[in-house]
């Protein structure tokens, strides 16, 4: 894209700047639209499982519901509690939202279509997702209120616990692909199962950790059944309790942008990303971005499905699952995968 802007007579640096800004907008704006629609989809799926109708009033089939909600919160007053730490109180939702958008820079949407094709892409994602906890922790502390504070402590402990096992799971995938670059990881899956299927997840050695990654990604994004940070029955609304209008909406948008990101990561790391699931020439006629979106939507459906069916974990069960089940298994799996690779690939 830089070359295209440079052909307009701009210098290379100016062209690079314009191309990057256009690239960021080309990801962020559709992402916002996707978040609006995915919130609608989430409510519809949840309603369908509970035998309700869900949003069906605003627009055809209620499709414009999220936009109506957005307009509503936009017009509301931002209330700042008098005891709150003003600056941090306002900056917390901005951090959550920004961090949720930043991670999308390294997601490959198609062959060669990626904003920043850096060779530590997966580490970048880990780094950015570890920043996500600050929005929650700062909001909990700055609200100067009991329940948000409890929620912030829970969130901090929960995210650190599950990041450890996510790190080990990602290492196994990186060992298999031989690179941290998400495009290389995707391409390494091309026809890797008997030359027919393109998916790490179908590899018997990687299937168990693909399931663990799915569960860990639910915990990492604090989705049900791990949504202890905003457990209504215990903590009112958790760290969002004192927030209103746009500052609340930013949390909301950031949370769903993170959920879509985790779905995309599941798709890219284990189920072939933008590659068609079967390595068969006619399927490549469909643009890669459509395959990626189909996989993201499939994973989002699983997320919604789990949210609608599984009851919330207790906090000690959550910690037990993270430290006593996932951590040992994922650590063992790193040894297993590296041992297998030493035996077969590098011997």
């Amino acid at each position: 894209m830089t070359a295209w802007f440079a052909s307009w007579g701009l210098t290379y640096e100016a062209a690079w700047l314009v191309a990057t800004i256009v690239g960021i907008l080309a990801i962020a704006l559709p992402l916002m639209l996707a978040v609006a629609m995915i919130i609608y989809a989430d409510r519809k799926i949840w309603a369908a499982i509970a035998l309700r109708r869900g949003p069906n009033v605003v627009g055809p089939f209620g499709l414009l519901q999220s936009f109506a909600d957005g307009l509503k919160v936009f017009l509301q007053e931002t209330i700042i509690p008098s005891g709150a730490n003003r600056g941090l109180f306002l900056i917390a939702p901005i951090i959550t939202f920004t961090v949720a958008l930043m991670a999308w820079a390294v997601i490959p949407f198609q062959a060669g279509v990626v904003l920043a094709n850096i060779n530590v892409g997966l580490l970048y994602i880990l780094a950015i997702s570890s920043l996500g906890v600050y929005g929650v922790v700062i909001s909990g502390w700055a609200s100067n209120s009991k329940y948000p504070f409890f929620s912030a402590l829970r969130a901090a402990a929960q995210m650190i616990s599950y990041e450890v096992s996510i790190g080990f799971i990602l290492i196994s995938v990186v060992l298999y692909a031989g690179s941290f670059n998400l495009s290389v990881i995707t391409l390494a899956q091309k026809g890797n199962i008997l030359g027919i299927f393109s998916a790490n997840g179908l590899n018997p050695l990687l299937f168990p950790i693909s399931v663990m990654f799915l569960i860990s990604s639910m915990a990492e994004t604090a989705r049900a059944p791990f949504d202890l940070t905003e457990a209504e029955s215990e903590l009112v609304a958790g760290y969002q309790t004192e927030y209103s209008s746009m500052s609340f909406a930013l949390f909301w948008l950031g949370e769903y942008a993170n959920v879509i990101l985790m779905c995309a990561l599941n798709a890219i790391l284990f189920w072939g990303g933008w590659l068609p699931p079967v390595d068969w020439a006619p399927l490549y006629a469909v643009p890669g971005i459509i395959w990626l979106f189909a996989k993201i939507l499939l994973f989002f459906f699983i997320f919604s499905w789990v949210k609608a069916t599984v009851p919330r974990y207790r906090y000690d069960q959550l910690m037990r699952l993270g430290w006593k089940v996932f951590l040992p298994i994922s650590l063992f799996w790193v040894c297993l995968v590296s041992g297998w690779l030493m035996l077969t690939r590098y011997s």
Partner: protein
Amino acid sequence: MIQTIAFYLFATLVIASGALTVFARNPVHSVLWLILAFFNAAGLMILLGAEFIAMLLIIVYVGAVAVLFLFVVMMLDVDFAELRAGFVRYLPLGALLAIVLAVEIVFAIGAWSAGAINMGARIAPVASDVSNTQAIGQLLYTRYIFLFEAAGIILLVAMVGAIVLTHRKRGGVKPQDIGHQVRRRPEDATRLTRPESGQGVEL
């Protein structure tokens, strides 16, 4: 051009947020400024072309260490009057530390401008086609393998020590045994009796 702008931006922010870490009244603000300093230091690493180190800096320091700092500091009940009361008492120690640091900085600048020791020669030459993730891996797991493993063992010992110090057996807890719950059948838990009218049931 853009590197220069980025360098001065990151460097200014590192120094400014470092200073604010010290000067901030509220400990929580201090930790947050420290996190900003870490973050901008990672930016400087990227400018040096050490993207792997930069990402690790963020993952380890910002993502784990600073969260734990924040975790502890947030729960402190800070009394600002008491904080200021200790100022005179700790002044000599603080002054000593400041002098030592100032001398070190002078030495460092002097040594750097003299430029006698060629530190670059001690680093193994790295092929330019290898990304720095691979370069670090090759160096760390061959030449420095013993140091690397020693670091691992020290961390393991520290971890075991921390667990031993904080672990205590508590009596009277009823942990959930899922296997036991699943094994339990209706006949273990219920009993069907037909008591005569007016007679109770023995529990």
